[in-house]
Amino acid sequence: MIVHSIFFYFFSVIAIFSSLMVITSRSTINSVFFLILDFISVGCLFIMVGAEFLGMILLIVYVGAVAVLFLFVVMMLNVAEQKQSWFIGKKSTHIPTGLIVSVLILLELLVVVGGWKYKEDVMSSSTLILSDISNTHQLGLVMYTDYILYFQLAGIVLLLAMIGAILLTFRERVGVKKQSYINQISRTPSTSVELKQVKSYQGVKIDD
């Protein structure tokens, strides 16, 4: 048990430290790297409590895809080092917004943690807590039976977001030459090669 708690404190200290570094570090690139470290240590915490599926999905989705995009954007935009004007000197406009969001998140967390006490009353559905089946199966059994509607709705919302993002950034480009594989492959010698008689000192005119 003592080993378990050593690992727990190890990962949680790293998680808290790196999330502090995300908001305080001056260089944006370093912020992104610390964010990645944060994701990884939270993933390890998930695995430690036995939610191995969630931990791995966190690694795949957030570290493997989302953080890569963050890193990409930050590197491409070449964001200069942040002056620490958010806290000192110039009055910042970000702090009120940030405060509102964080207070809302705190309230939500309180509701969730408080609600845990009344879990027996709230959760009437058949939540499976059997230790001999893996939590991937448990998750599947709950998600695709009791919560299938919400699952599908979430999928549709994501699809809409994707279509919206494509629509917002789509612009039709004119004058772009496109390669048509079928036309290229279906060419035959009879349609594409032509024998021309070239007379001396006259050259030849090729149409088009």
Binding site: I29, E52, M56, I60, V63, G64, M75
Partner: protein
Amino acid sequence: MEYLQILGQEIYKIIFILIPILVSVAMIVWLDRRVWGLVQKRRGPNVVGPFGLFQTLADALKYIFKEIIIPASANKVVFILAPIVTMTLALVAWAVIPMSEDLVLANINVGVLYLFAVSSLGVYGIIMGGWASNSKYPFLGAIRSAAQMVSYEVSIGIIIINVLLCVGSLNLNDIVLAQKQLWYVIPLFPMFVIFFISALAETNRPPFDLPEAEAELVAGYQTEYSGMMYAMFWLGEYANILLMCAMGSILFLGGWLPIMDIYPFNIIPAPIWMILKILFLFLLFALIKAIVPRYRYDQLMRLGWKIFLPFSLLYLVLTASFLFYFDKLPKVNF
């Protein structure tokens, strides 16, 4: 005290996994160059040791004694971290690869997801190396490579789901055991082909080696690296290729199972079968490097997003409906 004992045993096991992998990486580099040479009617490396077998070791020795040059304008920490990340990730994934039913370091429930997660983290080494070099060619190479790896990961993910539908478990040993009657390469042959091509793209192998296309980008993301740091990138790359071969043989070629469960085949021990299958896939990798010309970048993206992704999704629907209609969905007994 008991815990320390367990820890000691685990470290012992880890060393006995790492050393064979590092040695086989060296051998596989030799094999790669040798096959490449034979296809082009050259001899390939044949001087150092018998058949040139020690060529890679000689190269590695040379790299160790070379000076490591860090560019003046580079971001030093990230620059040094990049090859370490690449190599660590390439080696750490081997923890879950089963060489036989019980010859595996960690037989975890979510083995496939672990493999997929680690291979999707591999892109960081390349991005970090390319960005930290603070130079044009490495940066362009890193951008190309990141875009390429992220897009091919999507189709690999869907191919893995295809296999998982037939197995009903995320455990790698279960996946191997489920292929006792029939290797998945037969019913899922199109998926095997797509997995193989995506693995080529995921490991930046020719014909998809655009991140290090010599004619355009010198050596891509590793242009500024020298000495041992370059060697680490290179080791990580080959360890990743081996890993992809191992993944392909577990998912489609029945892992450590013999080709048929009859007399002359089933006396050969399981790890040998696994190694043979990995070698078979690696030979395909090496042959393709020698015979296929490099893709253009837009062709690569088109292939990934417009052909592989829709096709593997379609095949996923097909597999699911087949399994459902014939009532062959894997049963999980609770």
